[in-house]
């Protein structure tokens, strides 16, 4: 399976290597660098590269390439999914998955990698098990460790490893028992030039933060579970119960985790909460163009649209932009040609507008295409699909937990073609 792993930063330094079988020389990464050069953009590096003796499967996360070396047939998604799980674990342990964080905690990283794979086959990837084996670094613990000489490696077998619920550790205790659920929905949409919706879809997740003592058995029910068309579950959820009663019944992992992710059935019409009026034009044979964009709210069920940000990848011929924003601030990066307009809150009384001139490279032909506008926004306390949590019941434990549900709607891949 997975033979070796190399972590490479953006400037091409291999800053960590780990081998689960015989050592593979770093030079194998040259094939990767070659492909990277060919791809120009990091996004376009092929995830699977075939070399004379090995196959390289890589992912790109948080400015780090995770390049794994494979010697024989293995489902590529198996490796990709595992690498993402590694990155998630780093994120979980160190708060960020960055080169500095990994370098600072190189020993823990190594111990983690050692536990996660045995002979290239995943062994323990569940964060609760890993945390029992290797305690995440905290300032307090490192101080204590340095004084007492105790270690951050657990010396007991993680019970989860053996139980039927490997995601939960035993003997969890909290003084405040809390269970929070965030229903986060994202609107993916493509809006065409005339403002009509080409494609729109709602994707949602329920992220949970559960801090409950003992072995609570939760069941979460919805007012309108039929909305959920396609659902993927955390392994803790009893699939059968969902099938028969549309109730999420589970013994939760401890801490933060993603309970489900779902797609709202495509029959439902998606309410698009904002509209964009735009006028972008480049004049033939002149080195300027006009840019005029207004964003307004629509169908937002009485909630305010917040944190609106618009990013536009302008054509290469654009040299600079002289704009005035009636609200918020804008930046234009002349190197990457990305225009970012941080709008903030939209108030229907005064619609935010960004208007001005575009300077083009003189002599260059007029850009063929108008750039598309990518919009980000947030609406608090609203799940745009109308999904509502009905109730949360807890069995198996005596105490009364504090329960909370939060709804939020965001723009996912929300694109307006112009």
């Amino acid at each position: 399976m997975i033979h070796s792993l190399f972590l490479i930063n953006c400037s091409g330094d291999i800053f960590l290597e780990k081998h689960w079988k015989s050592v593979v020389s770093q030079s194998v990464c040259d094939y990767f660098f070659e492909a990277q050069e060919k791809a120009i953009d990091v996004e376009n590096v092929p995830p699977v590269i075939s070399t004379p003796h090995h196959y390289l499967i890589s992912i790109y996360r948080d400015k780090i390439f995770f390049v794994s070396v494979i010697q024989s047939e293995v489902p590529p998604l198996f490796v990709i999914e595992f690498l993402h799980r590694v990155a998630d674990t780093f994120q979980d342990y160190f708060g960020e998955c960055s080169e500095t964080a990994i370098k600072d905690n190189v020993v823990i990283v190594y111990e983690l990698l050692e536990e996660m794979l045995d002979n290239g086959f995943p062994l323990a990837t569940e964060s609760n098990i890993l945390k029992e084996l290797i305690k995440p670094p905290t300032i307090l613990r490192s101080v204590v460790n340095s004084i007492t000489g105790s270690s951050n490696v657990g010396d007991t077998l993680p019970t989860g490893q053996l139980s039927n619920i490997p995601w939960r550790r035993a003997g969890v205790k909290y003084t405040n028992n809390e269970a929070y659920f965030d229903v986060v929905e994202e609107i993916d949409a493509i809006i065409d030039k005339s403002g009509s919706t080409v494609f729109a879809e709602i994707q949602g997740v329920i992220d949970s933060c559960i801090k409950l003592s003992g072995m609570p058995d939760l069941s979460l029910s919805f007012m309108n579970p039929r909305l959920l068309d396609d659902v993927s579950f955390h392994p803790c959820i009893r699939f059968k119960r969902w099938e028969s009663e549309r109730v999420l019944s589970f013994i939760p992992p401890d801490g933060n985790f993603r309970l489900i992710s779902y797609r709202v059935s495509s029959q439902n019409l998606v309410a698009i909460p904002v509209y964009v009026k735009h006028m972008i034009s480049f004049k033939e044979n002149s080195s300027s163009g006009r840019f005029d964009v207004t964003i307004g709210p629509k169908q937002n069920m009485g909630k305010t649209v917040e944190s609106v940000v618009m990013t536009v990848h302008m054509p290469k011929a654009v040299l600079n932009m002289n704009l005035t924003a009636t609200q918020g601030s804008y930046t234009f990066d002349p190197v990457t040609k990305v225009l970012t307009w941080d709008v903030g809150k939209i108030t229907p009384q005064k619609l935010p507008n960004l208007k001005g001139l575009v300077n083009l490279q003189s002599g260059a032909p007029k850009p063929e295409e108008n750039p598309s506008l990518n919009i980000q926004f947030k609406i608090q306390q609203l799940a745009i699909s109308g999904l509502k949590v009905n109730r949360l019941d807890m069995y198996g434990e005596k105490y009364k937990p504090f329960k909370g549900v939060k709804y939020i709607t965001k723009a996912g891949k929300f694109q307006v073609r112009t």
């Binding site: 330094d13 770093q26 376009n44 489902p75 050692e114 490696v153 009893r238 059968k240 119960r241 063929e368």
Partner: protein, 991 residues
């Protein structure tokens, strides 16, 4: 200060530092600095390294764990950066027995990394591990085995072998899992051990814990993937455990089972395969195909042996399906490929939704999924059509994703959606990403060739692109137009003329070559222009690319043949230029063509045929997807992605023509598999409902086997239920155990509606087959609706005399019910009392005859006891419960004035003479002959003061009586009764 020294050291310690890519961190450079004062070793291969490590050695030799730990941490940091720390081996290996667990772990890390290089020294550590293998703590046993097997030192192979064998029968499943992991390690070290290892694998495959299952299948795949025979006995167990195995194990098991199923079962689509060939030619859309198939299938069924899916095949499909909802993309993909390769065509569709979901994931996941979707969408277009819009492209997608999406969109294009797709393509053409634009133009070309209706539209669109500013776009369009024009050149001389004009401007060689070829090929359509073009090209010949030169020669030759008057001299000129070209291909071509077209004395017989050779009708090129036929690789595999066989790829075998003996999967071992019906919750833990259902169905499953093998059941379900302590579940558990105790008596459940009230006792020797005329089995008026006997998943399924009763069942082992209509019960011999047990009254569904409000305090409920009325076998017994909720007595309750349809009869219950006191209830039984109809029986219910009009309408299911019947009998009856019976039976079985 540190900076200075560091600089100094980099010079001194050149050999050590030069090969490390990253600069030394401060900590280490300080360590270097500390030793700078010491004398340089005279002749050392890496002097600096030696000195650095002296410091570490000292720390390792100290008595303090904290110093050791510090040293080990620094060493591990060096290893992580890919630096050589091998010279510390003796110092490190001494600490292998260190008490501090973290030091120990880090020593293990070091050992595994360097043991291969320092084999002799590594042997020093072996005894520690051997001791560890005997430790009472399972964690220590496991980790000792793990490290021991990771040390790649050939000399310890026998020790490893012994350790693995021992660990394989360890009490702790965790140690057994580690043993499974160790197998491939040993195998890669010494492949001669294969036979012995296979024995261990065989043993571990029989392990019943989910913890081991994934790892041992992994070992199986690495060591002996060809020994498919080892799987037989474990097949059912693996299928049933699958849902509870950890994610990574699931992927491996599913992939292996896909291969297994391909060797053991028959193709579920074999009846369609022949039709497909004709259908595919005749029909465009796959939907049309689909609608066509059922009919055709029915016709072919009559002719050939009907396909019956092996219950084990069904089991696999059923147990993998819930995993489509896994959060792990690899699991979803594994199930998707399993369905693609194994499921009947009609069922493959379920995977589309899950695959589309994965498109929201990370870029690399998207990339792999899209590759697979592209392959699937060629074969099964209908499946992804509803999700067409999910493949629309965003300007922010990376190019490689864009191109894959484009591929899928093109594959999905058909006559109905082509206009939408083309509209999308129009947007894409204006993209800034030129590679993507080129791919879009290709895609338009493919749509145009595949869908005749839009060919002209596409062509017009492409011609418009010829005036695009971007040369690459124009060039790509030219190439695609060339291909399209070949289909119907006569109508498009205008376009050819237009393209001829382009030769002045366009510089891209491929495009120029394409234009020249077009003009040459269709020079008769553009007789005036062609020689002119040749003249221009002759002028610029020497500056052209090779590919263009070849086409110039080609054009010249063709013109010479068709229009030698105008072009003779030009041709001569071109050929002369080519004769002295630097490229030998061009020289050769010129020589060859000259001989062929210019008649000379020497030229042979071919000369006459020159025209035929050059101006032959050429077939239009077929624009095909590059993903066509990729599905001969197992989907989701590395080989499929690369479109080349990867090392260690196991070929996906073709379906066998004759199914191998299915009985090999029967297990004699006591209670090894958990029967066929188990389907747990998605995770390891099982909910109350699902737990009870899975345990109950698994109990029924194991009983099936039991019956077959005439052995007591050994229910082996890992008691997941123990986590849950609710009384209700205990009840179930209790009843289940009771059921087990009474050798297969089916417990009555608590859940009214879904529980079947009849408890058949399979352990009793089955009654001899009863001759039941098929006409009496199911009256045709009832066959359309059998909901009354629908067995939901959670119901406790009654016995089946043979396991896997029905072909085509999809979830629970199907009960072989013989259905008997109450009205015609007399046709059969009197039912045995043992077969028809009286139902518990509460478990049967009761219906309301008279509501408390309508009845002014009198409420009447009734239910069907599902037995013939004792007085008259034609009648159905109806239990009536009358309760008096008034505060006065009710007297003389009776039935009067029945209004019945012709043929229906009613046996009234005797008048209740006694008074019914307030709060009292009375139970009576009446018989009704419904004449096999579901018409209501209307009558009046009278009390001493009032008359109530009431009616009893029987649900279909209540008009039947259960009959015991063996599977063979059932099949026979099934075969004899009308097709519709079978059809309507299936939905109820496959709930």
């Amino acid at each position: 200060m540190a900076q200075d020294k560091c600089h100094l050291i980099t010079q001194v310690g050149q050999p050590q530092v030069s090969h490390c890519a990253t600069p030394l961190p401060v900590q280490e450079s300080l360590a270097l600095g500390k030793h700078l004062g010491k004398a340089l070793p005279a002749v050392s291969p890496s002097p600096a390294a030696g000195r650095v490590h002296d410091d570490l050695k000292e720390m390792l030799d100290s008595n303090k764990d904290s110093l050791k730990l510090e040293a080990m941490k620094r060493i591990v940091a060096m290893i992580a950066r890919g630096k050589n720390a091998s010279d510390l081996f003796p110092a490190v290996v001494k600490n292998v027995a260190c008490k501090n667990i973290e030091v120990k772990k880090l020593v293990y890390v070091y050992l595994v990394r360097y043991a291969e290089e320092q084999q002799d020294l590594a042997l020093l550590s072996i005894s520690t591990f051997q001791r560890g293998l005997k430790d009472p703590n399972q964690l220590i046993r496991a980790s000792a085995l793990r490290v021991l097997s990771s040390i790649r030192v050939p000399i310890i192979v026998p020790i490893m072998m012994l350790a693995i064998k021992e660990a394989a029968s360890d009490m702790s499943p965790y140690v057994r899992k580690t043993a499974a992991h160790a197998i491939p390690k040993l195998y890669s070290l010494d492949s001669d051990q294969k036979d012995q290892l296979i024995e261990v694998i065989e043993k571990l495959l029989a392990d019943k814990t989910t913890l081991v299952a994934g790892s041992v299948v992994m070992a199986f795949e690495e060591v002996c993937p060809e020994r498919i025979d080892l799987i037989h006995k474990n097949y059912r167990k693996l299928c049933n455990l699958l849902i509870d195995v950890e994610e990574w194990g699931q992927v491996v098991i599913i992939n292996m089972l896909t291969r297994y199923a391909r060797t053991q079962f028959l193709s579920p689509n074999q009846n369609e395969s022949l039709l497909e060939e004709s259908a595919e030619k005749a029909f465009y859309g796959s939907e049309e195909e689909d609608t066509k198939e059922p009919k055709a299938e029915a016709a072919s069924l009559a002719k050939r042996k009907p396909y019956v899916m092996d219950p084990d095949h069904r089991l696999l499909l059923r147990n993998t399906k819930p995993l489509l909802q896994s959060r792990n993309a690899a699991v979803v993909m594994a199930v998707a490929q399993l369905y693609f390769h194994l499921a009947p065509k009609a069922e493959v569709g379920v995977i589309a939704k899950a695959l589309v979901r994965l498109l929201r994931s990370h870029r690399s996941v998207q990339y792999v999924v899209l590759q697979n979707v592209a392959t699937m969408s060629i074969k099964r277009r209908g499946m992804f059509e509803p999700y067409l819009k999910s493949f629309y492209i965003r300007s922010t997608d990376p190019t490689q994703i864009k191109i894959l999406k484009l591929e899928v969109l093109t594959n999905l294009a058909n006559e109905t959606n082509i206009s939408t797709i083309l509209r999308e393509f129009q947007t894409y053409i204006r993209s800034m990403d030129k590679d993507f634009v080129a791919a879009t133009i290709q895609a338009i070309g493919r749509c145009a060739t595949n869908i005749g209706k839009v060919r002209d539209t596409c062509l017009n669109g492409l011609v418009q692109l010829l005036s695009n500013r971007d040369e690459l776009v124009v060039a790509e369009s030219v190439v695609v137009i060339k291909k399209l024009l070949q289909m119907q050149p006569a109508q498009h001389s205008e376009i050819i003329k237009h393209m001829a004009k382009l030769t002045d401007n366009i510089q891209v060689p491929m495009a120029r070559a394409s234009i020249l070829w077009l003009i040459g090929e269709y020079c008769e359509h553009v007789p005036k222009i062609a020689p002119d073009v040749l003249r221009k090209m002759a002028k610029s010949f020497t500056n052209e690319e090779d590919i263009v030169k070849l086409q110039v020669i080609n054009l010249a030759a063709k013109l010479y043949l068709t229009n030698s008057k105008q072009s003779k001299l030009l041709t001569q000129y071109v050929l002369n230029l080519a004769k002295y070209d630097q490229n030998y291909d061009i020289r050769d071509r010129a020589r060859f063509i000259r001989q062929l077209i210019v008649p000379t004395e020497k030229s042979g017989a071919l000369n006459k045929y020159a025209k035929k050779l050059f101006l032959a009708q050429k077939p239009a090129p077929i624009l095909e997807s590059s993903f066509k036929d990729r599905d001969h690789f197992q989907l989701g595999s590395l080989s499929h992605l690369l479109n080349a066989k990867a090392v260690g790829y196991q070929e996906l075998p073709d379906w066998p023509d004759e199914a191998p003996d299915p009985s090999v999967r029967n297990v004699e071992v006591r209670g090894a598999p958990q029967g066929a019906g188990c389907m747990g919750g998605q995770g390891g833990s099982v909910s109350e409902e699902s737990g009870s259902s899975s345990s109950s169905s698994s109990s029924s499953g194991s009983e099936e086997e039991e019956e077959e093998e005439e052995e007591g059941s050994g229910e082996q379900s890992e008691d997941k239920e123990e986590e849950e302590k609710r009384p209700k579940r205990k009840d179930k558990e209790g009843s289940r155990k009771a059921a087990m105790g009474s050798a297969g008596r089916y417990p009555l459940g608590k859940r009214g509606s879904s529980v079947n009230p009849f408890s058949l006792n399979p352990a009793v020797t089955p009654p001899p087959p009863q001759p039941i005329p098929s006409s009496s089995i199911i009256s045709t008026s009832l066959v359309t609706d059998l909901e009354g006997l629908t067995l939901t998943d959670t119901s406790l399924t009654p016995a089946v005399s043979v396991p896997h009763a029905l072909p085509g069942m999809s979830r629970d082992p199907c009960p072989s019910w013989g259905l008997q209509v109450g009205g015609s019960a007399s046709h059969t011999p009197a039912p045995r009392p043992r077969q028809l047990l009286s139902p518990a009254f509460g478990a049967v569904r009761t219906y309301e005859l008279l509501h408390r409000m309508a009845g002014e305090g009198l409420s009447v409920e009734y239910c069907f006891s599902r037995r013939p009325f004792p007085g008259d076998p034609h009648m159905v017994a109806v239990h009536i419960q009358i309760s008096n909720n008034t505060d006065a007595e009710v007297k003389s309750l009776r039935v009067s004035e029945p209004k019945l349809l012709s043929g229906m009869r009613i046996q009234e219950f005797p008048e209740i003479g006694t008074r019914l006191a307030p709060g009292d209830t009375a139970n009576v039984v009446m018989g009704i002959d419904f004449c096999d109809s579901t018409q209501a029986a209307n009558f009046q219910l009278c009390t001493h003061t009032r008359h109530f009009y009431v009616s009893i309408q029987p649900p279909v299911g209540e008009l039947m009586a259960p009959v015991f019947m063996s599977e063979n009998e059932f099949k026979k009856e099934q075969g004899e009764s009308l097709c519709t019976v079978v059809d309507s039976c299936h939905p109820c079985c496959s709930q």
